[in-house]
Amino acid sequence: MSWIAVEDLQRLFQDIAAVMTSERDNLCQLDGVIGDADHGIAMELGFTAAAKAVGGLDPTAADPTAVFNTAAKAFLNAVGASSGPLYATAFMRAGAAVKGKASLSESDMLDAFSALAKGIQDRGKAEVGEKTMVDAWAPAAAACEHARAQGGTLHECLLEALKAAETGRDATRNMVASKGRSARLGERSLGHVDPGAASAVLIIESIRGSFP
């Protein structure tokens, strides 16, 4: 595959925004079972704002870091909530990981992906098993790193990441929440997929779809 340019990243954010718009009500419904039913709204708002702000950048003048930072700021200010700081931190970390590059190699993109997942974990201070979006992001990052160490292409690495994220998402069904609002639920959170993990899978799916 060729180099990943600013236009490719602009398109990626548009793709994610489109997915969040179409999945909004499903995510809200998941959140209604164990939270306050607004996760789909936050994700749609955040990615729509991010896609719009990123789309306004001049691809001949902006670099990938500017795309990620612009997305971070737009997402944060549109959303607030908990997903705002989490994804804003993620995008800023991704931007920092590829600082100074005019376009991204496959390897750079994998650096950005790992940094993104790490940013979410650092900001949310959550560990795997606490029934949060980290249950999708952390195994995705690990699987991606593993595939990369085996010499996998970007596409292969992202495919492994997606599979691991899906497994992680499904595993949240059997977890008791201990972070975020649903933590107050205790045992009653059992049996329901975490909406943050579900939306994380949608994002990773979009990223994989962007680099076939």
Binding site: D25, C28, Q29, G32, V33, I34, G35, D36, A37, D38, G40, I41, A42, L45, L76, N77, A78, V79, G80, A81, S82, S83, G84, P85, L86, R123, G124, K179, G180, R181, S182, A183, R184, L185, R188
Partner: protein
């Protein structure tokens, strides 16, 4: 299919399924918060203004002044009159306004802090929720770079949300009003930041809330009930965003429900005979004053029997959850210091008490 709350059945054009949409007097779900703010500013021009270029930062016209600690509160919309209704002289100096049930992002919080800082420092107060903590902490970190000193006290009054030995993990609900009130009075009395912070923590430690929900609310953007509950059921301990509570039970008469709420509070607060309290009987949105006063009647009888003295009472909508039906009871244990602060006058857009001195 029957559904609790104000709702109408509809057939989804795409799927053909029968669903339920709630009825609301709104224009556009996505614009609800901003249109509400326009209305609030239109109604209360003597009390409030929005910062130029930061429309989600609402500041008191009277209140912030030289040498006074600035009190910034905030949180998601949908809890009105919380939080911006408590902005005014003698109480909070500014409120940062989030989307419905969502913490405001750092920017409007930062603008609020800058607007009310007079060199004496700023206190952030808000309910203990993961999102609010992250956004207010990010704001505090950025303000520190501008040499504005910020302290934070989160409210944790919801007895139902965690056991007593992990009180610091409890969420903040209607008892916010008393905790903000005490801290705001301390600011108005020109106490320094250390002292205001101490008082705010103490006020929070003395405040205990327990609620019950009867029917769900719906977000303006979804118009769907945010949880399901049977016609004859209630949820004890439900959160103000519809987070499930501690028990789903059959609805019982007001006295029995009030007893259940008070028993939990009294066991937690360990109040001895002779204790003075401030009482708040709060509607979660659609429960009317008639029912709140029926609850208040029972609270009075129970506290009399326990020889607990009611110093002052508030009954009404103080911390709501859109149109959710249900109520909460809050007791704040008063000592001389807190009683003086609770009695201190304040004049806010949606709340006032005591004699007004300007």
């Amino acid at each position: 299919m029957r559904q609790e709350g104000v709702a109408i059945a509809f057939q989804d054009a795409a799927t053909g399924r029968i669903g339920v949409k709630t009825k609301k007097l709104i224009n556009d779900g996505g614009a609800a918060v901003d249109e509400m703010l326009e209305g609030i500013l239109a109604a209360h021009p003597d009390h409030l203004y929005a910062i130029d270029g930061s429309p989600r930062s609402i500041v008191a016209k009277h209140g912030p002044r030289d040498g006074k600690v600035g009190l910034v509160i905030g949180g998601g919309s949908g809890h009105e009159p919380s939080f911006l209704g408590f902005v005014g002289k003698g109480l909070a100096d500014a409120a940062a306004v989030g989307n419905v049930f969502a913490s405001p992002p750092p920017d409007p919080i930062i603008e609020c802090a800058k607007a009310v800082d007079s060199g004496a420092g700023v206190l952030f107060m808000y309910g203990n929720y993961a999102g609010d903590v992250m956004n207010f902490d990010m704001a505090a970190e950025m303000l520190a770079m501008d040499d504005i000193e910020v302290r934070t006290v989160v409210t944790t009054d919801d007895v139902a949300s965690a056991p007593r030995d992990t009180r610091e993990t409890r969420r903040g609900v209607a008892g916010n009003v008393f905790v903000f009130k005490a801290a705001g009075a301390a600011c108005d009395l020109m106490h320094p930041l250390d002292e205001v912070e101490r008082i705010a923590r103490k006020a929070n430690d003395h405040t205990f809330t327990m609620g019950v929900a009867l029917s769900p609310c719906s977000l303006p953007q979804t118009l769907r009930p945010n949880f399901e509950i049977g016609d004859d059921e209630m949820e004890v301990g439900m959160g103000i965003h519809g987070e499930p509570g501690v028990a789903r039970e059959t609805l019982r008469p007001a006295d029995a429900v009030t007893d259940e709420l008070l028993d939990a509070i009294l066991a937690d607060a360990q109040m001895t005979p002779g204790t003075r309290v401030a009482v708040l009987v709060n509607s979660l949105g659609s429960t009317p004053l008639m029912e709140l006063y029926i609850i208040m009647r029972r609270v009075k009888a129970r506290l009399d029997a326990a020889d607990i003295v009611i110093h002052t009472s508030l009954v009404g909508n103080y911390c709501t959850s859109l149109e959710m039906a249900g109520a909460s009871v809050t007791l704040m244990r008063l000592d001389d210091e807190l009683q003086t602060l609770i009695d201190h006058p304040c004049d806010c857009a949606m709340f006032r008490s005591g004699k007004i001195a300007r």
